[in-house]
Amino acid sequence: MSERSPLSRRALLGAAGAGAVVAGVAGGYAVGATRDEPVRADPEAVPVAFEGRHQAGILTPAQDRLHFVVLDVTTQSRDELVGLLKEWTQAARKLTQGNEVGVYGAVAGAPEAPPEDTGEALGLPASGLTLTIGFGPSLFERDGRARFGLGDARPADLTDLPLFSGDRLDPSLTGGDVAIQACANDPQVAVHAIRNLVRIAFGRASVRYSQLGFGRTSSTSAAQATARNLFGFKDGTANVKSEDRDVDDVVWVQEGDGPDWMVGGSYLVARRIDMRIETWDREPLAGQEAIVGRAKGSGGPLSGGDEHAAIDLTKRGSDGQPLIPVTSHVAKAHPDNNGGARILRRGYNFVNGTDGLGQLAAGLFFISYQRSPDQFVRIQRNLAGPTNDALNEYLVHRSSGLFACPPGVGPRGFWGETLLG
């Protein structure tokens, strides 16, 4: 076999755009950039560091697009599982930096061999891609039997989430051994990443389900504008932000919380929440605002002020009723009503086409990160059920998953090294 040089996605891009090879130049430079004249980086295109104390994709300012996949591990062998995690990590390092997977990538391999990289991201920048992994309770134990020698390593908190009133969970969309969240500013980059990771896993892990998302519904940084959900409202204004002083306490597992392997990690809750779009659209504006507890235009709370004004749950109108109805989403989700519980929301809108009756099959793919699953459970208990959050009339929870996301990896580390290394 002849010598072939590994070609990076960006090298190819540079060669095609400017006739000059710019391999080695950091990502995010516009096509045609040379070493001497760096063009101002497009912040949407730059790569996000893969390594670190914490995994990227949690506090990272929320990107615009999501491809989320849940897999079940099919091998029985711990060695094969470790091998898979190492191969995934190797691929994730390349993908997040805007490179092709494998030694030869998409087009430099033997013509008789299927390309190592599937190729649809050729010419695209890293696009802020982050890949974040989490382990579900069933990776540790299934049907009462320990798996991969991990029986004792399962954190006590890592169990299936309790059933909440109003849940209509589809078993095929619930649970799962491993979750991988791919977020990027270009949907094709996110899809490419998950597709290639799934391909690497064939024979060792099998996809349970996957979900595409768009239009981040939460901001994880004060620098980001608050996005709107498919009900047309600004969502997660009161979300924890990376700039908040207590963010570490809310998001990251601390020493003494549980098993040491999770220190620096976080618990991921993922739930597909279908929205009854058409009936919502027929609700009068005042009704919609009373259900949410905010003004639709400005996003300000009904107790007054702009979007970021403090929420006053006690302020009453001329009729003597609270301006923010007690059953409104804002009131129910407020920390004051949940024993101070806060979470970092990182969800996305989704539309899976239509439902066969011509209605949008759409909703919110809810994602939250928290130091302990209990934070989510307390909030959701308060929201759940038709007699609680008025919004529930328009929501159906179809999927539920809880995953323990280990801490970040170092230069030679691999995903889950603290657990399986």
Partner: protein
């Protein structure tokens, strides 16, 4: 019926009569008698001399049987298929020094009843890379020939039943005859114009504005209409085309690279046609075809085994492991006594998912075989 299958390039095989069954397996001199019954497989000798050996196989049981000679990794050195109760057939195999297994498969099911065979004397010649590829192609050609013989026989029986209006018999023969077709599908597909009219599906025929013909035309009549009305011309045409494929396969044997591509092609067939239940949409006999495709892929890999062992032994180990896992998943749907497969419409979504996972797991390493073969050339 007595037929000798020449499975090597020998000019003339010694058509010795059945050697008397020795009480104790001993060293054979050119001929080994094999007595295949429903639960036993007796060979007259287990110590053989290198060179051509004739296995005289007699089916003393009540089920249709087959006899295989396997080298390591179930590489088929030779086989006779479709030996009815009371019938005999000879199989001539040129075996170099080494360890082998003989296997009878009563009911043509499972791994078979196996018997170790040791061959002493002249070792196989060390082959150059290109000679090794040629040997692989020749080995697969022996497989194709064994399959095509049975294919013609079973298709003839099927066609006769259709023309005689024997609906139940024709339905029983349909998946059995197709087994031989599906095992060597890459061969059939090389003859591009014959495949669509023999194994094409109704929507494609409609879209292309031609008459819907072949296996599936008759399948539709048998299962949907429940009769054989108007099927005579389709039956005759089917046999004529199958015969043509068989003839052409003899004239144009596959190269080693085509073989490697074929092993992947068969799995693609499974993933796109059988897993979806589209292949046999009227009879739901997809699992028969599924198994046959897998066996065909396995035979192709077995023929390439010496090449692959040399170039990428890890790949061979992985492929072996994944074939085994798929067989375990698949074989639970076969009735061990009758050899019949469960109707595809009886499988749950979860069961289909597990089959699909196993096929995907195998397809990934199989997709790498062609490049290994190409690099060995």
């Amino acid at each position: 019926m007595r037929r000798t299958l020449l499975v090597t390039g020998l000019a003339a095989a010694s058509l010795s009569l059945l050697a008397a069954c020795a009480e104790k397996p001993s060293e054979a001199d050119g001929t080994v008698a094999v007595k295949a019954a429903d639960s036993s497989c007796k060979v007259s000798a287990t110590q053989l001399k290198a060179g051509p050996t004739t296995f005289a196989v007699t089916n003393a049981g009540s089920k249709v049987t087959e006899f295989y000679v396997y080298a390591e990794g179930d590489r088929i050195m030779g086989e006779v298929e479709n030996i009815g109760p009371g019938l005999s057939r000879d199989l001539v195999v040129d075996l170099p020094k080494g360890d082998y297994q003989g296997a009878c498969k009563p009911g043509m099911v499972g791994d078979g009843i196996r018997q170790d065979l040791t061959v002493s004397g002249k070792a196989a010649k060390e082959l150059s890379d290109s000679a090794e590829l040629k040997a692989a192609a020749a080995s697969y050609q022996r497989y194709v020939e064994s399959q095509t013989g049975a294919l013609i026989d079973k298709t003839t029986e099927f066609v006769d039943a259709v023309k005689a209006g024997e609906v139940d018999e024709a339905k029983a023969l349909f998946p059995r005859a197709r087994t031989y077709w599906e095992r060597i599908e890459p061969v059939a597909e090389i003859f591009g114009d014959l495949d669509p009219i023999t194994d094409g599906r109704e929507p494609d025929a409609k879209a292309e504005g031609r008459d819907f013909t072949g296996w599936h035309r008759i399948e539709k009549q048998l299962w949907v209409a429940g009769n054989t009305d108007g099927m005579d011309p389709y039956a005759d045409q089917l046999l004529a085309n199958v015969t043509k494929v068989v003839q052409e396969s003899k004239e144009k044997p596959l190269t080693a690279l085509q073989l490697a591509q074929g092993s992947k092609g068969l799995l693609d067939e499974v993933a796109t046609g059988k897993i979806t239940g589209e292949e046999d949409e009227f009879s739901h006999t997809d699992l028969w075809d599924f198994k046959a495709n897998i066996e065909g892929s396995q035979a192709a890999i077995a023929a390439l085994r010496p090449v692959l062992e040399k170039a990428d032994p890890d790949l061979v180990t992985l492929i072996d492991q994944r074939f085994k896992a798929l067989d375990t998943e698949l074989d639970q749907y076969q009735d061990a006594d009758t050899g019949e497969w469960a109707g595809y419409d009886t499988l749950s979504k979860e069961q289909v998912k597990r089959l699909s996972d196993s096929v995907a797991a195998l397809s990934e390493p199989i997709s790498k075989v062609a490049a290994v073969v190409a690099a060995s050339a």
